[in-house]
């Protein structure tokens, strides 16, 4: 992954961290004094100055919590850690890092879900196989 590190966000128009509804020009290393109405986001050409960064990414907190509780694995906690970073990164203008944290949060709850499904289904199949074996020698069945 060669995503842009925080502080090296490409120059362009981004949501102004201090004035909701406004866009401010980021010259690649610092905010400039140039601002614009957010309503221009509705223009078809908005993607030229905010590619793929038109809204705050979701932090995946709910699936992170549910996989922590239900999947019996520590990966869900990693997902919650990533979820906790999304909002702050976005609000401080680190859009690339915020998007990365969001993707990481999603990745870790998916890992938690996937690994636990394999473990639980495998275990269940094993127990049913054992159960059949036990039943064949048990007078209860």
């Amino acid at each position: 992954m060669s995503s842009t590190p925080p502080g090296q966000t490409p120059a362009g128009w981004y949501p102004d961290p201090n004035q909701p509804g406004m866009l401010r020009y980021w010259d690649g290393s610092a905010w400039t004094e140039h601002t614009n109405q957010q309503s221009q986001v509705a223009n078809p050409g908005y993607q030229t100055y905010a590619p793929g960064m038109t809204g705050k990414p979701t932090n995946h907190l709910v699936p992170a919590i549910l996989t922590t509780i239900f999947c019996c694995l520590p990966f869900g906690i990693v997902s919650i850690v990533k979820a906790s970073q999304v909002n702050n990164l976005w609000d401080t203008g680190q859009y690339v890092a915020a998007r990365k944290a969001s993707e990481d949060a999603k990745k870790w709850w998916l890992v938690s879900l996937g690994v636990s499904l394999v473990l639980f289904v495998g275990y269940f199949v094993l127990v049913i196989a054992l159960g059949i074996g036990t039943a064949s020698t048990s007078s209860n069945f």
């Binding site: 995946h60 919590i65 509780i69 999947c71 520590p74 999304v86």
Partner: protein, 151 residues
């Protein structure tokens, strides 16, 4: 309510409705079963595979029992089984109600999406889960074990 049914926006409530149905089915199943006894399949007791394999307690261990205690009105019992379940049920219920409010085109001052929550909320959850997992599993610190190990 009648107006909302004929409002186009009611279609947006399918997500919250599906979540509500899933939660009701889960809570109903936990309420009428006994998570303190091991589940058996064909006469074989099923233990949690993680606990069976490692002997340790996972971050969610005891949560089903905590939900069961909560549904039977025993708040202290719920906190003993898993101290984070009570606050988490409250948090998820709050996010669900917020979700419905937003989907109905309203924006009450109290409504928040998960992303809009203060950063302290997920950070406290991380601290809580890590601390709970450590105190349950580290030798010499095994206070607060789940009362009876079962799935």
């Amino acid at each position: 309510m009648t107006a909302a049914v004929y409002d186009l926006s009611h279609r947006d409530l399918r997500g919250p409705a599906a979540a509500g149905v899933a939660a009701t089915v889960y809570l109903g199943a936990v309420a009428v079963t006994d998570p303190f006894s091991a589940m058996t399949v064909r006469g074989v007791a099923i233990e949690c595979p993680i606990h069976a394999a490692t002997g340790g307690f996972c971050p969610g261990c005891g949560s089903t029992r905590a939900v069961h205690e909560l549904l039977h009105g025993d708040l202290v019992g719920s906190l003993v089984c898993h101290p984070l379940v009570l606050p988490l049920v409250g948090l998820l219920a709050y996010l669900w109600v917020s979700w419905i409010a937003r989907r109905r085109g309203r924006d009450p001052w109290w409504a928040r999406t998960p992303t809009e929550l203060p950063a302290a909320v997920p950070m406290l959850l991380v601290v809580g889960f890590v601390a709970l997992t450590v105190v349950r599993n580290v030798p010499g610190f095994e206070w607060l074990p789940p009362p009876d190990v079962a799935p």
